[in-house]
């Protein structure tokens, strides 16, 4: 059967450089090459689209960062405004808290006076820059030191403390007293005010 399948005789003039076909196993080489080319094209296409998508995403994120930065600046400015408001509110609160009514203080001093004593001069001055401090100028006749202690006790009962006190004793129990009063105890004051209002 092998002979039967042999190729037919040939009488033509043979070309001298007729080559034998390469072994079949080497056909893997072009197959691998073709697959490599196809894979390279596919991967490049994939990378191209991914790169384009990533650039788009990058631009979107840049826009978002810019938006968020602008928002942050707005919030910081708002916080500054709020802080400013707070500071001003604190100032108002301090002023309000410091600007205690002076009427109870004057009434308290007047009530502290003994029957024999009389107020010759009373001044209560408040500094607009520092409303918590009240400059007290107090001059009375008769009673001397005892009357001063009673008056200061009444002032203290309203929550004020005296600082930088300066007193000058005169003739026949008269006394000139000057001090800076600083209000300290709000509870006492509220109590006294309540009592005063009643």
């Amino acid at each position: 059967m092998e002979n039967h399948l042999q190729s037919c005789h040939d009488l033509k003039t043979d070309r001298p450089d007729i080559g034998q076909p390469l072994p079949g196993i080497l056909a893997l080489l072009p197959i691998v090459f073709v697959f490599s080319v196809i894979a390279a094209i596919a991967l490049n296409t994939l990378f191209f689209f991914q790169l384009r998508n990533s650039e788009q995403a990058k631009e979107e994120w840049k826009l978002k960062v810019a938006e968020e930065s602008a928002k942050q600046k707005e919030i910081v400015a708002m916080i500054e405004l709020i802080k400013d408001e707070e500071r001003r509110a604190n100032d108002v609160r301090d002023w309000v808290e410091g600007s205690r009514q002076m009427q109870p203080l004057a009434v308290s001093i007047a009530r502290s006076m003994d029957v024999k004593s009389s107020i010759a001069e009373l001044s209560l001055l408040r500094d607009s820059e520092n409303p918590k401090q009240i400059k007290l100028g107090f001059k009375f006749d008769n009673g001397g030191q005892k009357q001063l202690d009673a008056t200061l006790e009444a002032v203290n009962a309203l929550g004020y403390r005296s600082y930088s006190a300066n007193q000058t004793a005169g003739k026949e129990g008269s006394l000139d007293y000057q001090a800076t009063l600083i209000w300290q105890n709000s509870n006492k004051e509220s109590l006294n005010l309540t009592a005063t209002d009643e």
Binding site: S7, D10, K12, I18, P21, L22, V34
Partner: protein, 297 residues
Amino acid sequence: MKLQDIKDVLTFASFRPEPDDSNVSWARRFPKRRSLLVNLNRDGVSWRALDRGGAFGEQGSSGGELKDVVGEMAEQWQGLTDDGWCAVSVNHRFVISLETNLTRKKGAEEQIRVNPKAALGSKAERGKRYAVKHNPESNSSALLAVDEEYIKQIESVFNGAGLKVGRICCGVYGMFSDAVDQMIEARADYLKGKHEEPLGKIIVIACCEGSVCIMTSDEDRWLELRSRSGLYSADDLEPAQNIIMPLIENSGTGTQIVFASDQEGAALKNLITSSSTGTFINDISRTDGLWSLLKEK
């Protein structure tokens, strides 16, 4: 390494045999490519196209000189092929003879083609190209001789017309050789069967496009060989009958005949059957005998 070599590797062309590699069959050389089969007779040319699937296509014939016919048909033939490749069968200007004691050294058959003098010695004639078919069981061989000048003329005419010649063979010798191969195989199978009776005389008859080759054999010996070209036509089978019948009659009764023919010679079988008694005819003819041989081998 040339760019063409790289291209051939990438297109798998390097893994296929070259179109003019005579050691490879025509079917393997031209897979999925169109080619043309041409037969040259004394007084005309016939052809048959092969399509990409290996099926036969357009066929035709034309009378006249080879140069005139090829010049006239070249354009049409190129249109029937992918690259102009043709297989050419010659059926005249050849001699088939029975020889003995031809060298059977390794590579001798190839040497007969390229350097017949070295292989055939004094039996080689100048200006001839040879092919040989050895009898594996004896020292006899069937030797084909074709005029070298005619081969070169064919190559020149085809090349000049822009056609490429992938094979030049002798059609009747090819069919004869194929029939002998089948006879040898059948004989080997018969001997394996350990039959008591000898196989006896066998006559191989090959008829192709008007040419006839007849060989008688007795057991393992090839006895006599006769060949003629342009001997018969479809209308006139008598000359062929005249050369075949004496050999059959001389062989006696019980002779087996292996008959291979193309369509034109098919009627010869009926003539032989009616003229001889006591012979057994094994018809191995195939449809499109010559074209099938050229296509497959």
